[in-house]
Amino acid sequence: MEKKIIEVKNYTFKYPDGREVLSNINFSVMQKECFGIIGANGAGKTTLLLSMVGILKGKGLIKIDGLILSEKTLKEIRKKVGFLFQDPDVQLFSPTVYEDVAFGPINLGLPPDIVKNKVEHALSKVGLSGFENRISHHLSIGEKRKVALAGILSMEPDMLLLDEPSSGLDPRARRELLKLLFNLEKTKIIATHDLDLVNILCDRLMILKKGIVVWIGKPSDILEKKKILEEYGL
């Protein structure tokens, strides 16, 4: 962990009806750091992640690997950042697993043999080698989430933004995902309710309450303090 790879300064996001979802957010993430964002439902976790890849646009500064987020840098930033959605069904839109995982590399304009290598490598990384011809909507939710993750890994991003990666998983699938994420040597930002997951994976934590950053620090410093967590809706 040497340099700051993500910086968010004075970021505020309002919906068109004027409702403020994120208010003056400030934080930074170091290279190869695993950074957790926790908060109650509606705290603004997903909004913040979507803002970091330019899907939602608010006011303030977002800097990813030295690039200030703007229309000009959007494409470059999206190549560097992989985004895992909470609902894997949103991310799997091709009939077979192979085509789903190949979607990103194909869009990057890579030749077919390299695409094939990347797909095989990504699938083996998530433990789904041999699933190439399986039909996406016939998979279990755990497998779907792994395929969605493989679809991101096949693009070889520098950092990952993961929105509720463990939601809806049974204990075994959750354990497998945890192990998988633990072994991924990339910068990770994880938005979740899963306090166990952040305790195991994250180097630092940020707590959001109604769109405001109320706490940033090491997981061990806060996760034991049940009363404070309850105050923050966790």
Partner: protein, 207 residues
Amino acid sequence: MKGQCAHRKIIIAFLSILLLMLVPPENYIIFIGYISVVGIFSIYLLPLSVIIKRTLSLFPFVILLIIFLPFKKGSIPMFKWYNVIIYYEGSMLFLSILLKAWISIMILTLLYFSSPFPEIIKGFKFLGIPNIFILLTSIMYRYIYLFVDLAKKMETARKLKYFGKNRNLYIKMYASSIGLLFIKAYEKGDQIYNAMILRGFDGEENN
């Protein structure tokens, strides 16, 4: 990627449909021939009840489009009741369009059930169909299952909440769930588009 390619089946299916469209309205022998051939193949692949259920489910939409043909088109009256006249030519046209639609749906059902969907997609690619069309077809196929599943869940929830015999309430509940399904479809569409652009999709064709 392993797996077969259904390009021959696609060509045969679309040529059959194209030829069927060229058949003049009163050539019943050709229609009977078509129905016999497609029917035999369909029965060989699927139970008769499934074929009838699947092919007839689209009939209301076709009928809705051509319902006024027998009343408007033609000069030889076939049936008259006060000011309502049913013409011979219009009725024949109505019948032939209905038959053509039914046989076409049967051909497409046959194509669908004789090849797994990934093979059909591979066939489209082999035939040089534009990628954007293939992508849209894939997405449609993929999400139909999700929405059918969602609609079934909503139907179960509706049944569990509906105790009385208040028909108006049931209709109201039914209408709201259809509305909700549209909203969910819109939201899902938005999220899918976001997921696509985050993986480098820019609306352009990529090979």
